[in-house]
Symmetry: C2
Subunit: 490 residues, 2 copies
């Protein structure tokens, strides 16, 4: 029998938790901490109701609940007791009061995940040269919202809100297949296509399925860090291959493949990430021939095919063959990153196994959203694409003009034929980390080249995404960058 | 010089691809296949325009494009030539015509992904006993659509459609934290919470971060296959632990942990999957004590906490401590699986590393959808939850009545105190695979116990999700099941 009653019950009348449940939780906590042992008699309902200044009905509800849950037993004549089945436990080590508060002290260890590039949070009054994302303010929100609503109503009526094909909604795979065939020269059906949550998941799936610990993966000297890190995370050794203004350097790649048993070549042939150059046709042919001769898989990341301004984009490598190519794309650049829809294209056999892996990773995406995006693609997206194409081309040209004016002597760059970023190189050496810090003081966030290096070396260069800022913001951002540059070079 | 012109150009006037681009693609295809070598002169624009019966302007546009892309060079007096820089290539091996068609012949090998349980596709006239999903027809579609639209407009205006915190939108992490603290006795802040794409991704992340090849993971004898498979995929050995109507059997678990260096215990204490039983309080205390004594991480999958009908749900194990517990939940059951939003709760240090891993897997979820769901949770969800709670309770009771009536002598089950599925056991042995086949002939899909076995043994039992069917459908489904049963037992 509990004598001088020392239960620590602090009721919070403002809480959303009903009072009787707060009492239940307190008792359980006391039992867990070893402060009330098995078989102990609980105080009478009248006593406790007076002590806590709550109605007796509340105490009775709490005791009923404790009995229902198995923490207590009740005897109509003798009262309520802590269940005798409970094991006798050492007192729970003291811990912070079970109120709101950050819990520290991790009691277990785990494999540390690698750091990728820091994500750029948008913050008040800061301008950001991101890595080439579209302008969220231009997203066709009314059309997306309307289409999503229709898809939601329709899929609910058809009972399709449950679980389905891990490859994703058929309508969207079909729409992407049609687009790839008509605009990018691929020969696909829906069975070649698996939808993913952003293109990053497609790259991750490649790393999981194609690479075993100890395998070699060739990447460009400057490359997309989350891809490189995903491959390295699976245990691959990364081989860094030279890069120039015609894309990946084929002689060096051949040498690398002779020296190491390279299993996968990861590259961004269309608008090289981060340098924006297009891979030259003759190199594409040599690469495909090399891949075939050596049995190497080419993972072709076509992350921003959509925006190409000066001529038609080169056809993807995957248009030649899907036999040894995994093609990765996304709808983030065209519609909105908030949709989180990417896709992977390869042979149906590989795609089926990708789908099995997806069953483990996240089962599937949102069928409703995928259905909505399929409708967007077939009905609305081409006129929207034309509109933003014009806006981004104008921003690109404006950005080039401002850069040339402000950094006349100090910087060199080529206006990119497509994509949403510039690659600018400083003509004289400077400390990139100091430039980043100085820019931050000017309320400007930038991504210097060392973020992208796959071999530790990095040129004095920056990747400057221009598309998410309008003309006025671009001018202001370049001026801030120049002030930062001046302060570092002084 | 190309003599008798043998280019295979088949123009498709109905295609969305402009004619000149079709010509460009055909030329590139011919070059790739080795049918036109480097330096070859292309036919005159007039000749080709006559041959193809298209305007000469179209041919000129095509040639300009080939030059722009680097496939050809042009000389104002002599004409257009295939670029001399292209390597001389062996003829591309013959392949299917580059028209629509399934590409076969996988030219590379990959790690085969394991098969999980087959996903149940909804099909015309079939009824499905799923594994316990809510009824999509009851999803609050108008509220979801309206809230999503508002969130989309708001986040676009605030420039938040770009990339953000890989742990997910703060507002939703905060809303989930508040809900866990007030309704489930946890002590969390938003920093304890990471959003995932469905609870499956949370389980996958646990497998990736907690398990190294060779580690041991203990699971219940009957368990949730995608969780078991995810742990096995990471290289863990699975230890199967006995299970009875009080949940996981603690003596057997202790023995397993003495025999093997178990690193992780995965379990579903609230409504055991698939058997629906609740883990008894004294076992919970013993489990927490064991976890502490041996330094074992408990992964607590609380996959359908929301629907509990007969008394208040037991508090999760994670309410005692997050130091050695990873708590996994989802909003699929309460709102709609189509949202694909789950969450993982643990110490902030572990959560931060989970976020780093997410940067590799899919970077983040949809901030817009997460923001919308936060608003749903704070404003609309409790009245909706009350409504469906009543509906599902009625369906549960109806289902129990029908099962008892139709299978009077042949089946035993306990009405589950919560959750959206029944676990029914046949009183006499029968061939489960034959039952599945017979049910399919009756246009009914079922999930027999062997799907859930972690040691190859399985009782004569089924998990029957009842919530996605209304009363009439449930009656019909039970009758179909009985006909199938009769045909197997005949």
């Amino acid at each position: 029998m509990l004598r001088p009653w020392s239960l620590q019950i602090q009721l919070r009348p403002q809480s959303q938790t009903p009072l009787y449940l707060q009492i239940v939780h307190s008792f359980i906590e006391e039992i867990r901490r070893g402060r009330i042992g098995a078989g102990t008699a609980l105080p009478g309902t009248r006593t406790l109701s007076e002590q806590l200044a709550v109605s007796r009905k509340t105490i009775i509800a709490a005791y009923d609940e404790l009995v229902a849950q198995g923490w207590a037993t009740s005897d109509s004549t003798r009262g309520t007791f802590v269940s005798p089945d409970l094991p006798s436990l050492p007192r729970w080590t003291s811990r912070a009061a079970p109120s709101l508060g950050v819990l520290g002290g991790d009691g277990f260890s785990w494999k540390k995940a690698p750091q990728v590039i820091p994500w750029a949070e948008r913050s008040e009054n800061y301008l950001i040269f991101d890595d080439g994302t579209p302008d969220p303010r231009l997203a066709p929100v009314e059309i997306i919202a309307r289409t999503y609503r229709r898809a939601l109503v329709r899929t609910a009526r058809r009972s399709e809100l449950g679980y389905g094909d891990p490859r994703g909604a058929f309508a969207l795979r079909q729409a992407i297949s049609t687009m790839l065939n008509s605009e990018r020269g691929l020969a696909t059906t829906a069975s070649n296509i698996c939808l993913t949550r952003g293109s990053q998941m497609a790259l991750y799936l490649c790393s999981v399925l194609l690479v075993r610990p100890g395998d070699y993966v060739a990447v460009e000297k400057l490359t997309y860090p989350p891809a490189r890190t995903a491959f390295a995370r699976t245990g691959a050794s990364i081989v860094s291959v030279a890069l120039d203004d015609g894309g990946i350097e084929l002689d060096d790649l051949e040498r690398a493949c002779d020296e190491f048993p390279v299993k996968v070549i990861y590259l961004t042939p269309h608008h090289q990430f981060p340098t924006t150059v297009s891979m030259r046709p003759e190199r594409r042919l040599r690469l495909l021939e090399l891949s075939k001769r050596k049995g190497i898989v080419v993972v072709e990341d076509d992350y921003d095919h959509e925006f190409h301004f000066d001529h038609q984009p080169l056809l993807p490598l995957a248009s030649a063959s899907l036999d040894r190519t995994v093609y990765v794309g996304s709808l983030s650049k065209l519609i909105s990153p908030s949709l989180r829809i990417g896709y992977l294209v390869s042979s149906p056999g590989f795609v089926d196994d990708v789908a099995n892996e997806i069953m483990l990773i996240d089962r599937q995406g949102s069928q409703t959203m995928e259905t909505a995006v399929a409708e967007l693609m077939s009905e609305h997206i081409s006129s929207y694409a034309r509109k933003v194409h014009g806006i981004y081309k104008a921003r690109r040209d404006h950005f080039a003009t401002v850069l040339t004016t402000v950094f006349a002597q100090e910087m060199s760059f080529t206006i990119p034929a497509g994509g949403l970023a510039f690659w600018v190189q400083f003509k004289t050496p400077l400390a990139l980390d100091e430039l980043v810090a100085a820019a931050y003081r000017e309320r400007l966030k930038i991504l210097p080249s060392d973020n992208f290096s796959s071999d530790g070396e990095a040129p004095y260069a920056l990747r400057l995404g221009y598309a998410s800022m309008n003309e006025g913001e671009l001018t202001e951002a370049v001026q801030r960058l120049h002030r930062a540059y001046k302060s570092v070079k002084r």
